[in-house]
Every structure is written in structure tokens, then in C-alpha cells.
């Protein structure tokens, strides 16, 4: 790889633009798409690889090309610069997410409390317009305060966000559901909200709750069928199966 290609690739990634690195495997010739004009077949493979978030191999004129997509990070928008948000922040980046925290309470939304996180002190409805949650975004509300949580959930439900979670007990959520229905959201929309938020790992501390929320977001991203019993694979012939109680 030439240093010049690497620098351009990193610049695109730093600007959070989707970019595909194409490598001819016979000699290491490389191109970036969509920044360079390429033969239609390679351009199409690059577009498909970005969409599928999956690398691919294609043949063009008898030459093998490796098509390597680099999508911008997935995003998590958290409403509420609270203790759980602080615990989520250091988990987000290593899991491949960039995190934004929205909280108009300026005492909470500070750089000192949330280093390295995009902060917004706008009201959640305005913040959500600016942040534009999309299909690569998770939205989590943590304030317990309907004035802050509801507008964010309303906006999230009107978006394609791949995950929506709301902190609060079942009772709190029942009241929230009634309010969201008044805003015009039907049962199918409401069913998109994970509440109580997070996988049930009997979390107690803020860090444990953060872990359960992050795990649930990862599960949603990977399409895991959580909440359903996992099939136990049949033991291979000749192998001794041990210890799974009937």
C-alpha cells in the first residue's frame, strides 16, 4: 500500500465518509471508491460491499480484486448525561460506535464528565433534528424525565434507528406508552422500544446497567434472537456429549 493511498483512506474515514479500498491481488494496485472513477463492475461491487458492510472478492478481466468497505462508525445517541451514560462512553468506541450525549442541563453535559463524547445541550427535539438518527444509529433515553425522554423517543420512532431503548420501570414505561400513543405512535411503533432497557443480567450498578444496554445494542446490530431459547446443536457422532441437563 502506498502511503499516499493510506493517507487518503484515513482522511475519508476521519471525515466519517463511507469509502471502499479496492486491491488487485496480483500486484497490489489500489483504488478508493467513490473518490475515484472505476470500471462499472468494480464500482458496483464497492457500492454493494458498503451496503452489506461485508468485504467481497470480484474478478475483472481475469484479475482478482479484494473489495474492502469502510463505513463510518455506528452511532449511539444517549439522552441524559447521567451516570449510566458516563459508564457507556468508554465502552462505545472499542465496540465500534461513536457516541453523542444530549442533555440541556448544562451541569450534566460537560466535557469533564463525558470526555471524548459529542455533547449537545439543545433540547432533545432540536438535538434529534440536528443529529438525524438513521439506520446505523441507536437511541437510548436515560433521564426518567418525560420532558426530555419523550421528544427524543418521538423523534427516534419517526426515524429508522436500528435500536431504541428507554430506561424506566415497567410502570414508568406503561405511562410513557400512553403518552407516545397520544403523539400518534401505534403498537407496532411502540414495540420497537426496548423497555426496560438492557439485557436482563440483574444489573445493579451504573456500569452493569451500561454493560446490559451495550450488550442489547450489539445484539440488535448483529440480529441475535435474544429472549428466545437457543437451539442446542446435536452432538456430532462419536463425540461424547456432556452435562447439558435435560
Amino acid at each position: 500500500m502506498r502511503a499516499e493511498i493510506l493517507a487518503r483512506l484515513q482522511a475519508e474515514r476521519a471525515a466519517q465518509r463511507p469509502v471502499v479500498l479496492l486491491t488487485r491481488l496480483s500486484d497490489g494496485e489500489q483504488h478508493l471508491w467513490p473518490q475515484e472513477a472505476l470500471p462499472a463492475m468494480l464500482a458496483e461491487a464497492a457500492r454493494a460491499a458498503l451496503g452489506a458492510e461485508k468485504a467481497a472478492n470480484v474478478m475483472l478481466d481475469g484479475e482478482a480484486w479484494f473489495v474492502h468497505p469502510h463505513n463510518p462508525p455506528l452511532r449511539i445517541i444517549v439522552v441524559g448525561a447521567v451516570h449510566i451514560a458516563q459508564a457507556m462512553a468508554p465502552m462505545a468506541a472499542p465496540l465500534g460506535f461513536s457516541m453523542a450525549v444530549v442533555d440541556p442541563r448544562r451541569a450534566f453535559a460537560t466535557e469533564e464528565r463525558l470526555p471524548g463524547v459529542t455533547l449537545s445541550t439543545d433540547w432533545p427535539d432540536e438535538a434529534m433534528v440536528a443529529l438525524k438518527p438513521d439506520i446505523r444509529t441507536a437511541v437510548v433515553t436515560l433521564t426518567h424525565d418525560p420532558k426530555l425522554d419523550d421528544p427524543a423517543l418521538d423523534a427516534a420512532l419517526r426515524s429508522e434507528a436500528f435500536y431504541i431503548g428507554a430506561l424506566g420501570s415497567r410502570r414508568t414505561h406503561a405511562k410513557r406508552v400512553a403518552r407516545l400513543k397520544d403523539l400518534g405512535h401505534d403498537d407496532a411503533a411502540i414495540a420497537r422500544i426496548h423497555a426496560p432497557v438492557g439485557l436482563d443480567i440483574a444489573a445493579v450498578t451504573a456500569v452493569e446497567i451500561a454493560l446490559s444496554v451495550m450488550a442489547e445494542i450489539v445484539a440488535a446490530r448483529r440480529g441475535a434472537a435474544l429472549g428466545q431459547p437457543r437451539p442446542i446443536p446435536a452432538p456430532e457422532q462419536g463425540r461424547v456429549s456432556i452435562g447439558i441437563g435435560a
Binding site: R2, A7, E53
Partner: protein, 110 residues
């Protein structure tokens, strides 16, 4: 099994930093896998001639062999496409014990 290519560590950034520090650097990338290979296509490993290693192309099974090939690529200046799998004597020696097969592209950073 995961199919995407995002990595938690930015191996390209590490490679660029090593290069800026005056190291000779090569980048290895998994380009194709079959069967139960531990790392998906797109996984990267950065290697220096001085022996620094970051990232991974397998669960540790073939990193040593890939690092050797990377050193060759750095001295020749030429990329190489490596095949690992149970049908491959050499790969068997280095132990891709998961039973999968994979191709790894190794290129010097020039």
C-alpha cells in the same frame, strides 16, 4: 458469526504511526475465508521489520507465518497472497487448527 469488517482498533492508523516513526511496515489483510475461520475478511494485522505486531488475522494460529511473509514483503517491496488451510502442508505446520481455510494478502507500506 460476524460478517462486518469494522475493527475496534484502527490498524491503519497504527501502521501510519509506525511508518511516521521511521519503521518499515507491512499490512496483512484477510481477503477470503472458508469454513470456520476465526476472523472475517477485512481483518488486518500490521507488522514492522523490527517485530512489532498489532491486530489479528486469525485467533493466533497463523500470525507467526504471516509476520514472516510480511518481513519478506518488506525486503522485496512486493505484495504476496498467502493461502492457509488444512489442505496446505505449511499451514498445517503453523496450525490453522480450527479447520478453516483463508487467504491473506500481505503488502509493504511504501
Amino acid at each position: 458469526m460476524s460478517t462486518d469488517t469494522t475493527q475496534s482498533e484502527d490498524i491503519l492508523a497504527i501502521a501510519a504511526r509506525w511508518k511516521a516513526e521511521g519503521e518499515q511496515v507491512a499490512i496483512a489483510t484477510v481477503v477470503e475465508t472458508w469454513g470456520s475461520s476465526p476472523r472475517p475478511a477485512g481483518s488486518r494485522l500490521a507488522v514492522t521489520a523490527s517485530g512489532r505486531l498489532m491486530g489479528s488475522v486469525s485467533g493466533g494460529c497463523i500470525e507467526g507465518a504471516v509476520a514472516d511473509a510480511a518481513k519478506q514483503a518488506m525486503s522485496s517491496g512486493e505484495p504476496a497472497l498467502l493461502d492457509f488451510g488444512i489442505s496446505d502442508e505449511r499451514a498445517w505446520e503453523v496450525g490453522l487448527s480450527c479447520g478453516g481455510k483463508m487467504k491473506v494478502f500481505v503488502e509493504p507500506l511504501t
